[in-house]
Symmetry: C2
Amino acid sequence: MTSAEILAKHDIKPSLPRVLIFDYLRQHRTHPTVDEIYSSLSKRVPTLSKTTVYNTVKLLSAAGIVKTITIEEQQARYDACTDLHGHFLCTDCGGVFDFDTSLPDSRLPHGFTVKTQEVYYTGSCEHCSQKN
Amino acid sequence: MTSAEILAKHDIKPSLPRVLIFDYLRQHRTHPTVDEIYSSLSKRVPTLSKTTVYNTVKLLSAAGIVKTITIEEQQARYDACTDLHGHFLCTDCGGVFDFDTSLPDSRLPHGFTVKTQEVYYTGSCEHCSQKN
DNA sequence: TAATTTAATTGTAATCATTACAAAAGTGAA
DNA sequence: TTCACTTTTGTAATGATTACAATTAAATTA
């Protein structure tokens, strides 16, 4: 399914900036920050505003078609893959990697309603582990 | 074990501000922010600096006796309880609640070394679920 | 104890990600 | 075209965090 179709299905008008940003996230599974999205796209679309990137990732995240990754204090990252998987932050090189995971077995307090579930690990990636 | 003893055991000199801050976190299991810690303690210790709170929670977190909770974009929260449990952010009222959880069954890429593991859920707490 | 070194704390000033907001541009209907 | 509405943009705030230099406190040495 095209990005425009997915946006439309979620009642988001598939304007050019929105399609570009969503496309970028679907094609770059590196958990980019707003700055990375903006820097890459503004080369091809010089009129793009960073505010639009902020607005759009918030919109896509609220619609549930993009996940906001808050594994770092400094800035948020975004992921268009909403299938179940964990995120691993290498505190040496700063990279964020996917890993396979189940959901944990959780007992929530009574009456709580779940919207999102995230599994975050930190440590050292293979490359940085070897250097230490 | 007293806070001072725990600090000493981790080679952290138990200065007054450090003991106060660690004590505060051990007694207030509400996942306070730096601002909340500072506001509460500065009433009794007017000379306390917010920078010291930042320095100290970073120090305690690096020592592994405090967990940094990055479930929100806006600001970090801190938790002196390092036993296994999940954190639930109510996106309506902003509260952060503990819940019982196992660790998920994860397959990490080869060679990765794990330092911390976090399970974050978002949604609505019981109180806010009822209002909706 | 006094002098000296080292570590911890403080206050202020930056930094920088994010948001607020109002103006400009785009879109669609009548 | 004109009007109403939505989206985008640029700039200016906001606010959490960090950098840094100065002060204070603690530990060490003579």
